[in-house]
Symmetry: C2
Subunit: 159 residues, 2 copies
């Protein structure tokens, strides 16, 4: 596990050509237009947002290439459909998203005290998804696993 550090932290990625090209390809295939706003949004997410909410994205775009919140909200379903993003959790009344493209599938540990998100991988979850789906005649497309509680720092603090 590594503490989730991406929120509001700049974390440049080497070459985005491939990822951006994949997104443009998705748009064209679907008959959607490749606009500078959509490119700016996707690029910002690929560059510096592993986890984010709409406001963070809006603010981080404002400096270089301002995009209205309306356009961000309209772009999100497209990015989810393209496999670039996923909704992860609701906190304080608004949704938080996570970049999926180019990252391994993982699950979350959520601290109820400091609200930080930690990530981990547990291979048996995919097996559970598979087994239960087979048992129930379900055609699964994904799963989500989350653990909540107190992180080690917050346990220490309360002692």
């Amino acid at each position: 596990m590594s503490e989730e550090m991406a929120i509001s932290q700049f974390e440049p990625v080497g070459d985005l050509t491939e990822e951006m090209e994949a997104f443009r390809g998705f748009l064209k295939t679907r008959g959607y237009r490749v606009t500078k706003e959509r490119e700016a949004i996707a690029e910002s997410i690929l560059k510096n947002h592993d986890h984010f909410d709409v406001d963070e994205l809006f603010l981080s775009l404002r400096a270089k290439t301002p995009v209205s919140k309306a356009s961000i909200y309209r772009a999100i379903p497209l990015m989810i459909e393209s496999g670039l993003l996923a909704e992860v959790y609701l906190e304080n009344g608004h949704m938080h998203y996570e970049r999926v493209y180019g990252r391994e599938h993982h699950s979350h540990l959520r601290c109820l005290n400091c609200h930080r998100i930690f990530e981990f991988s547990a291979p048996e979850l995919a097996q559970v998804e598979k087994r239960i789906s087979r048992q129930e005649g379900f055609k699964s497309e994904g799963h989500k696993f989350e653990i909540w509680g107190l992180c080690s720092a917050c346990q220490a603090e309360k002692r």
Copy 2:
């Protein structure tokens, strides 16, 4: 697994004395008052709501013992704290709840087409929670696992 049938279906439970008494006890212990509104809400949930949203609860109470939505919204955190309820998922922009008291822990299969919820139990999930928490120094308080995809009926329909 059994299809989740409780939504807007009456499903009487034998004797609610014990469950209601537990809820009253919780209120008293915390210094909260036992009001007829809180009793009506808790009783309605225990009697006929395994899964529900605020509007369903509001409407089902309206006939016999009307309770305002404000009071329902104010009662929910208390019921969650008492262990009677849990938030389960956000759909169509509003929260859905599930009765916890007197039911076994289970996970959900969510059909993306018909939006029905199916339930299942997978014992290894508790083990994953335990193992990961130990590994990460986390003090866990619960977990949630969800699988989404197409239920068998919806697969057949689309064929």
